[in-house]
């Protein structure tokens, strides 16, 4: 048996297909991204790439559109944390005693997650449509015609709606995670807490929340890294507009590279996105750990 599990030929034979797939389409490109980011390059075949060192990063530093996108993504992440995790948690707490019909509600809350994000973005585009869209029709019907807006073009509301639609898609995800965590808690603990007089809100904040803290931690990281990867909602609903107010780093990178042929600058943004994604995962893990110790 020992020999069976040490057969080098078989080990290689079975690992190689996965390795090739992984290396060719994921690892090599991510290394190339770093490499491309120090070249100036129009993306046209035959036109040689020119080494420019840090120039792409310097020009990015001086590019207001980049800072706008960074500011937008910070707002996007923070507001998403404030929306998705608390609502997800409250819904999970309400569903956790498994009231009659809870399965229906759980299914309904989770269902946006299985939908194509392209379709979701288009559905919301139509709901928020200025003339005859559902939202404006609704406002008009209840006599609030003065509140109607061109939601995705208006500079005060475009980013908010991008965040709301993202929350609409993802909140059910956190409900499902928290629901599993809460219903997985041992009954004795909750009963003991009830005997000690911890009921209602107190039970939730003092007993339930600390006990599912691992899930909260994971969820925070998932929201942060998930938002960094959000592309379609912005790309389809606002194209980064109005005036770059909803542009996020990944859409900016897409437009810089594939619309304006600034491949070097696009690659520099891709490197920043990569580092942010890894860095934020590590930072979130650290921060959440500390809070747990302080508790």
């Amino acid at each position: 048996m020992e020999k069976y599990y040490r057969n080098p030929k078989f080990i290689l034979l079975f690992l190689v297909p996965a390795f090739v797939l992984y290396a060719a389409f994921e690892l090599i490109p991510i290394v190339q991204t770093f490499w491309f980011s120090v070249y100036s390059w129009s993306g046209i075949h035959g036109v040689p790439m020119k080494f420019v060192g840090w120039n792409n990063y310097v020009s990015l530093w001086n590019f207001p559109g980049f800072w706008q996108s960074m500011q937008n993504i910070v707002y996007y992440v923070l507001l998403s944390l404030v929306i998705q995790i608390p609502i997800g948690f409250v819904l999970a707490v309400l569903l956790s005693p498994q009231p009659r019909g809870y399965r229906f509600f759980k299914t309904a809350f989770f269902s946006p997650l299985v939908l194509s994000i392209t379709a979701v973005s288009l559905m919301w585009y139509f709901i928020l449509f200025p003339n005859g869209g559902v939202l404006n029709n609704l406002l008009t019907a209840v006599g609030l015609e003065s509140w109607t807006k061109n939601w995705l073009i208006d500079k005060d509301t475009a980013m908010t709606w991008v965040i709301v639609v993202t929350g609409w898609v993802s909140t059910g995800y956190y409900t499902t995670i928290f629901f599993a965590a809460i219903t997985g808690l041992p009954d004795e603990i909750l009963e003991a807490a009830a005997l000690d007089g911890a009921t209602g809100l107190k039970k939730i904040t003092r007993i339930v929340l600390p006990m599912i803290w691992e899930s909260v931690k994971t969820s925070v990281i998932l929201v942060v890294t998930g938002i960094l990867k959000t592309f379609e909602i912005v790309f389809i609903m606002t194209q980064g507009g109005p005036n770059g107010l909803t542009q996020v780093p990944v859409t900016l990178m897409y437009y810089e590279a594939f619309k304006y042929d600034h491949y070097g600058r696009g690659s520099a943004i891709a490197v920043v996105v990569f580092l942010m994604s890894i860095g934020l995962t590590i930072i979130s893990l650290r921060l959440m750990n500390r809070e747990k110790i302080e508790y």
Binding site: L15, P17, T33, S116, F126, F258
Partner: protein, 277 residues
């Protein structure tokens, strides 16, 4: 008979749940009812059920707007990715879960690390490479690229599961003279089915709903999957709201049906990355 306080609490609870369920389901209801309406009806009467159910929008979308072709391409893409990942992922997972070789743990971390790589950070070189090798607009290449980005998650899910399965059945098969391949196909794969199914749900939905790769690597309508086709349809026939709504319904219906039928599996598949093994 409920006490008044409890009755009140129950009512508030259900009102709150119903409100959020309404918010969750409304866009789908809106797309569905609109897909049977004429354009004027969509705008003048967005909430109501259609005055009459006609399938004109569906016929127009399916035939004139190529949605039929897109649908077939999506099936091909999603099934192709799921099958490829099932095979390649199960093979690698078996080695990583059971076999003993130098740095085996490092190799596992190496594969799983891919979950941290943001897709968007790789697309410029990917587009460059695929262009250089003349592999654009190729369904097989689209399947390979899309699969590559779900590989880490597949290996993560399946390896974890395989480690938890006792090795005694494999042992007796080896004693009976089975080859590595026979042990793998007759014992390991059948025993790992729960994990493979969970990973497959994740992979199928991921491929079905992916927009970015088709957008970058597919250029002809004959090869477009639904996500990109839907966007192309919307771009070209912006005024045909009914048709776009029908195309939206066609796009979201298969995943929704899969979800309703395989609820637990789908929830597990999509939250697998969040729940540590």
């Amino acid at each position: 008979m409920l006490a008044p306080a409890r009755l009140f609490r129950q009512t508030v609870l259900y009102l709150f749940l119903a409100l959020y369920a309404l918010i969750s389901l409304f866009p789908m209801y809106f797309a569905l009812v609109s897909s049977f309406k004429t354009t004027t009806e969509i705008f003048s009467n967005s909430f109501a059920l259609p005055t009459q159910y006609n399938f004109d929008n569906y016929v127009r979308a399916w035939e004139l707007a190529n949605v039929g072709t897109y649908f077939f391409n999506s099936v091909l893409l999603a099934v192709g990715c799921t099958a490829l990942l099932g095979i390649v992922g199960a093979m690698a997972s078996y080695i990583l879960a059971r076999f003993r070789f130098p740095f085996s743990n490092t190799v596992f971390v190496f594969f799983v690390m891919g979950m941290m790589i943001p897709v968007h950070s790789t697309i410029i070189p990917l587009a460059f490479n695929i262009g250089t090798f003349g592999l654009r607009d190729n369904m097989l290449v689209l399947i390979l690229v899309t699969s590559a980005f779900s590989l880490s998650m597949t290996i993560f899910i399946v390896t974890g599961f395989m480690k938890s399965v006792p090795g005694s059945l494999e042992e007796s098969a080896v004693m009976d003279g089975c080859t590595h391949w026979q042990v793998f196909t007759r014992i390991v794969v059948p025993l790992s089915m729960p994990a493979l199914a969970t990973a497959s749900v994740f992979n199928f939905l991921g491929a079905w709903n992916n927009l970015l790769f088709p957008l970058l690597f597919i250029s002809s309508k004959t090869n477009m999957p639904l996500s990109y086709g839907l966007l192309a349809f919307f771009g070209e026939r912006r005024a045909d709201y009914g048709g776009v709504m029908a195309a939206i319904v066609i796009t979201i219906l298969p995943p929704l049906i899969a979800y309703v039928l395989l609820q637990e599996k789908v929830e597990k598949g999509l939250t697998a990355g969040a729940v540590k093994g």
